[in-house]
């Protein structure tokens, strides 16, 4: 049986703050017993003061363990104090529904706390009960808060309906967020999203603006159904990132028409086939 996220987070936080490890363990344990929200608030307030705000240091093995304990959980870019705060929330036991406690915490959270609270979403008890609070976070104008839900977080993949998923992807493009860190991006593609994104691209082009090449990733599998060939052809004539993305999308479409278009760009198609270009690397790495 894989280790629980709680156990991993306990170990990581204690390992990185050995001089505070005893205090942390005591706190985690007593929060699991007392169910007292005042204690929880106090702990959440004290953590950055006692641990500092450095990044959580994780090895590739740690990240692999995280993914085993909850598929798609990627705690990269977490901070030490944030990890300790989430550990406390996971350890906390109370008779009050967790969603009430959570909403209350969001209500008074400062900017960094908000990011932390949302990063742990998928790991909390009864995560499906948190959808209202998650909606608030998605509507946030603070990009980092939005991204704490959207990036490296399996919650949207596991709990968003199609409408919310599609609007999350669209908003990510609107605010200039990357798509590739979205967990489940390829498994949750759908024709409706492809249509929305194609409309969005046309609207941008009409305004004389460009679109993110990542957009084509969600269009490719439905290129035929949403008639995306003209748009992809335009992307094929664009800057290198657009060309690579269009090729990747056409390969995902895998239709006769897509294959014909790919024949017009044999050089890029070959690079993709060789694995030298992919959605995380739309331009060639400089030769060392």
């Amino acid at each position: 049986m894989p280790v629980t996220p709680l156990k991993l987070l306990r170990d990581w936080t204690c390992r990185q703050a050995p001089d505070q490890a005893r205090w942390l363990v005591e706190q985690y344990t007593s929060l699991g017993q007392s169910g007292n929200e005042k204690d929880l608030h106090l702990f959440l307030g004290l953590v950055p003061r006692r641990l500092g705000k450095q990044d959580l240091t994780l090895t590739p093995q740690d990240l692999a363990m995280a993914n085993q304990s909850y598929p798609g959980w990627r705690p990269e870019g977490w901070s030490l104090d944030g990890a300790a705060r989430i550990t406390a929330l996971l350890a906390f036991e109370s008779n009050r529904p967790f969603s009430d406690t959570f909403r209350d915490l969001v209500r008074t959270a400062d900017a960094r706390e908000l990011i932390t609270l949302y990063r742990g979403l998928a790991l909390y008890p009864r995560p499906e009960s948190l959808t209202d609070a998650v909606g608030e976070g998605l509507r946030s104008n603070m990009r980092a808060v939005f991204e704490s839900i959207v990036h490296g977080n399996p919650y949207p993949r596991d709990h968003f309906d199609e409408h919310r998923w599609n609007h999350m992807v669209l908003k990510a493009l609107f605010v200039g967020s990357r798509l590739s860190p979205i967990v489940g991006l390829d498994t949750r593609v759908n024709a409706e999203l492809a249509t929305i994104l194609l409309d969005y691209a046309r609207e941008r082009w009409a305004a004389g603006r460009e679109v993110s090449p990542e957009l084509w990733r969600c269009v490719g599998p439905f290129a035929e159904r949403v008639s995306a060939y003209a748009a992809l052809q335009r992307a094929l004539a664009g800057v290198p990132e657009q060309r690579s993305a269009a090729v990747l999308a056409l390969m995902a479409a895998d239709t006769p028409r897509a294959r014909d278009l790919l024949k017009t760009v044999p050089d890029i198609t070959a690079l993709v086939a060789d694995g030298r270009l992919d959605w995380n690397h739309l331009t060639l790495k400089e030769a060392a």
């Binding site: 705000k53 990011i115 980092a144």
Partner: protein, 306 residues
């Protein structure tokens, strides 16, 4: 580099943030205060406090300015007892947030019994949480109100070196300094202090324990009060060290006692803050394009909106 230790940014525009950053303001403190009309629900007040530690902090970060705040129940709204009781229950939770550098701005407006009650209660809270205090001194009956504010701080057992008495003028500064408090001066047109008068005060008193701020808010006020006063002072022959004391060092010294504000926050921010709170801003990542035109000029002269 300047700190504006008293600025109500919820009432200001992005043009102001841009102008402040361009003028060299690296950090500011937003005291919780009255927003121009009374709040009538506890919840509105709670959301206001929440915006000080959340949204407004983020907004400032977009312009490369570090945003801190003080938490408190102001004197005007202390007169609504039902509201005041409700707000007092929430204050400790907010006071413990990161970046909260003091309890404030608190004190007297009309010097009523209710104002007195909640002023004292919040001084006790500041002592308990080991936080500095920012005291708003009244506009009317100022001299006596200021003396009384300090009397009460001492009655409540506060150390004057942890207390900033703000909105001083020529009539109150002597006593404030003699009693060991920090003396704040708000460079605020018409009603508080002009910067030419401020320069005269600096000539007379030097820079020890004197703090210049803009107190800019929803009224006719100038968010560049601190940098403009610094320039005027330098042009008037005030020593650079004194100017630096009153526009940077002193504010950092007193509000830094909270443990929530240090120069490293803007000189060498934690990676997590750079990735999140300072997204899109390059000033702290070394090298931002110099602003060649002042925002006001741009606003007037640039016809294209893209």
């Amino acid at each position: 580099m300047f700190i504006d230790p008293h600025a109500h940014m919820v009432s200001r525009t992005t043009d102001d943030y841009e102008a402040m950053a361009a003028a060299g303001i690296v950090a500011l403190i937003e005291p919780a205060f009255w927003v121009g009309q009374p709040r009538t629900f506890v919840g509105t007040y709670v959301d206001y406090l929440s915006s000080l530690v959340g949204w407004e902090r983020f907004r400032a970060g977009q312009f490369g300015i570090r945003h801190y705040c003080t938490i408190g129940l102001n004197s005007k709204e202390a007169n609504n007892e039902a509201l005041a009781e409700g707000v007092m229950e929430w204050l400790p939770r907010f006071a413990l947030k990161e970046g909260v550098v003091a309890i404030g701005e608190i004190g007297y407006d009309e010097q009523t019994p209710l104002e007195d009650k909640y002023f004292r209660a919040q001084l006790a809270l500041a002592r308990q949480l080991e936080l500095p205090v920012m005291v708003h001194t009244p506009h009317r009956d100022k001299k006596r109100g200021t003396s009384r504010s300090m009397d009460v701080c001492e009655e409540m057992g506060l150390d004057p070196s942890w207390v900033v008495i703000d909105h001083n003028n020529e009539e109150t500064v002597r006593e404030t300094l003699d009693r060991g408090y920090w003396a704040g001066f708000s460079i605020y047109p018409s009603t508080k202090m002009g910067n030419a008068r401020m320069v005269e005060l600096l000539k007379q008193y030097g820079g020890d324990r004197i703090i210049v701020d803009s107190a800019c808010d929803w009224g006719i006020s100038d968010c560049l009060g601190v940098p403009k006063t610094a320039r005027l002072a330098l042009e008037s022959g005030i020593a650079e060290t004194v100017v630096r004391q009153v526009t940077y060092d002193n504010a950092l010294a007193v509000y830094g006692k909270s443990g929530q504000m240090q120069a490293a926050d803007w000189l060498d921010p934690a990676p997590i803050d750079q990735r999140t709170l300072f997204e899109g801003n390059s000033i702290l990542r070394g090298g931002r394009d110099p602003l060649v035109e002042a925002p006001e000029d741009r606003r007037r002269d640039r016809l294209l909106i893209e």
